[in-house]
């Protein structure tokens, strides 16, 4: 069940360390990375819409690329619980979560004016993990099942799947090099978290330009060089 499909041969040595616990550690790390991102983006969005309101621009400047993934309100279930649920019920390999994370990161880079926030993170997750499992696992559950696990309707998930594929421009291939890069990146995050002293830096949205800087990372240097590595 925890075995990964041999999709990324180089990263396989890496994978067991992420997957050894009963709940693979990749879930824990991913949860913490995403929670941080969402918390930051939620604040950013609030600041921004306030600021834009003052400029009487409304929130028109926020990108609409992820609108299909927006819920009316944030779901009650936390990101860690949601990821755990996906993992537990869908049987997909831990690699799928890494690749799902790659997709979300690619989305963010392709559509830099759109934010991963608490309103859309769940739908983004279930969709990207599902697409990843379609890519990686020869055996996988269908959309209907993922929809039930993810708490969305089958029709909606199908729509989101298409939305994701087109937003990604069908760039769903993840080379073993990129996969390994992301694993290393996540492990680095884990080390930071292990120390637990990392202070989250506040983002001061002084300029609208900052919006385009959004990435999964806090620092630009650790931001995966997607355009050069990805498809």
């Amino acid at each position: 069940m925890l075995t990964t499909v041999g999709y990324n041969h180089q990263s396989r040595q890496l994978e067991p360390s992420l997957a050894e616990a009963s709940t693979p550690r990749v879930l824990t790390i991913l949860s913490s990375v995403l929670e941080k991102l969402v918390a930051r983006n939620d604040r950013l969005r609030d600041c921004l819409s306030a600021e834009l309101d003052e400029l009487s621009l409304g929130s028109a400047r926020l990108g609409k690329s992820f609108n299909a993934f927006h819920g009316v309100r944030a779901p009650n279930i936390s990101i860690p619980k949601y990821l755990e649920r996906l993992y537990k019920f869908t049987d997909c390999s831990p690699s799928c979560f890494v690749v799902g994370y790659v997709y979300i990161d690619r989305l963010v880079h392709r559509h830099p004016d759109s934010l991963v926030i608490s309103l859309n993170v769940h739908r983004l997750l279930v969709t990207s993990v599902m697409v990843a499992s379609k890519m990686l696992d020869d055996e996988h559950y269908n959309n209907a099942f993922f929809a039930r696990v993810g708490g969305v309707s089958n029709a909606e998930l199908n729509r989101l799947e298409l939305e994701l594929l087109f937003l990604l421009d069908f760039g769903v291939a993840v080379s073993s090099r990129v996969f390994e890069f992301y694993c290393l990146h996540l492990e680095k995050e884990m080390m930071f978290n292990g120390i637990g002293q990392k202070i989250e830096r506040a983002i001061i949205p002084s300029a609208v330009d900052d919006l385009t800087e959004i990435s999964v990372d806090d620092t630009q240097s650790s931001s995966p060089p997607l355009k050069s590595l990805g498809l």
């Binding site: 041999g6 396989r12 609409k64 609108n67 996988h140 069908f170 291939a173």
Partner: protein, 516 residues
Amino acid sequence: MAVAGPGQLNVEEYPSWGSRSVDCFEKLEQIGEGTYGQVYMAREIRTGEIVALKKIRMDNEKEGFPITAIREIKILKKLHHENVIKLKEIVTSPGPETDEQGNQDGNKFKGGIYMVFEYMDHDLTGLADRPGLRFTVPQIKCYMKQLLTGLHYCHVNQVLHRDIKGSNLLIDNEGNLKLADFGLARSFSTDHTGNLTNRVITLWYRPPELLLGATKYGPAVDMWSVGCIFAELLNGKPILPGKNEPEQLNKIFELCGSPDELNWPGVSKMPWYNNFKPPRPMKRRIREVFRHFDRHALDLLDSMLTLNPEKRITAQDALVAEYFWNDPLPCDPKSLPKYESSHEFQTKKKRQQQRQNEETAKRQKLQHPQPHTRLPPIQHTGGQAHPSHWHGPNHPINNPQPPVSAGPSHHQYGRPRGPPGGPNRYPPSGNQSGGYNQNRGAQVGGYSGGPYPPQGRGPPYAGSGMPAPGQRGAASGYGVGPPNYSQSSQFGGSAGGRGPNPMGGNRNQQYGGWQQ
């Protein structure tokens, strides 16, 4: 690629796939119909270029976007080679709610999604099945070399095709052969630790390790299929036409001998070995059965149809086999004859008429029970061909000699010239008005899997725990395979001749009684 400055990520350097509408194309005609969806020949309005549009069927709500399509797109996006079909772009059709245009959140994709491929005129099975047509040895070498070159490229890029068969090898009128239909393909790891589904590859071309239940396998699976195709080209008909999996294995053992720990260490631990092992050892008979093949061909075939996948020849090694470096050398693709057939649209009725005639002819010609009509290559056939057999009562006379241009073309063609793309490929021969009279039937399989609907793509991935009715392999007696039956069409572009395989499915439906 320019380095994007802060806030200027360069996301729109190339036109986004899916950004164009299918309205950019004018559908000319449907050329295929498979489980995957319809395939159309179409013309891009702006450039006039002829393309193949493969509609992605989205009607299975539970499955969502078809796994075969998503994988095919993913893999073809990263493969760029003159012997691999080129996926040009993805286009969408606006669907019913056109008034919602511009609304990114709407169901703008509901209308349909199409993959746009370069257009290819034929597929290998379609060509091989042309009545009276015999490939020359340089031609077979030319096709084999291209097949191996394309496959080697896939394997180097860690892609397993997993459905190599004649109908997935597309051929254009420039003699170029390209691998197509990557719906079952996947990436693989070199350490073979993967846990892969073994329900892949059309039965007749499926290697023994898959039939014995292997879930860890590699590029060797494709090489077995190549061996089957190679033998088929030389032999004039499929060599291992099993009706179901046990029979398939049995046919393999009859030809290649039974596996044991000596010739295939570890085979006795294969999941289904004990179910299928033959009661008594069987002798390898390849060299006896195909003793009429030339020596180098036989050597190569022998190394391809090796039971033990570890010992089976790789695409790379096959390319340097003596076979390709001895006279007659592979010919230049450009020197190959341009096969034409009339357009289905014009000849639909005529064809129906002919079909009836053929049925009559078939009944009258029971003294010719051979189920397969292909002719072995010219060198080997001598008097074996029965050209007169193909003459139905009301048929136009057939020219028993194919328009082979074996003549001066026996030179090595080294690396094929670059990708032949561009619109200038399409009107290669005189009487093709707007591409309307290109051969249609032959192409069906490659794009759509059309001729072999029972194989259903999709099902192999139906998912653990999910009931997967109609899963590949579950049904015995697949409708696969090259037709058995002669259709008396003209090749060589005579007017009024009909396509050799009218519709993909017809090959099986209409002539389903091939197994005698």
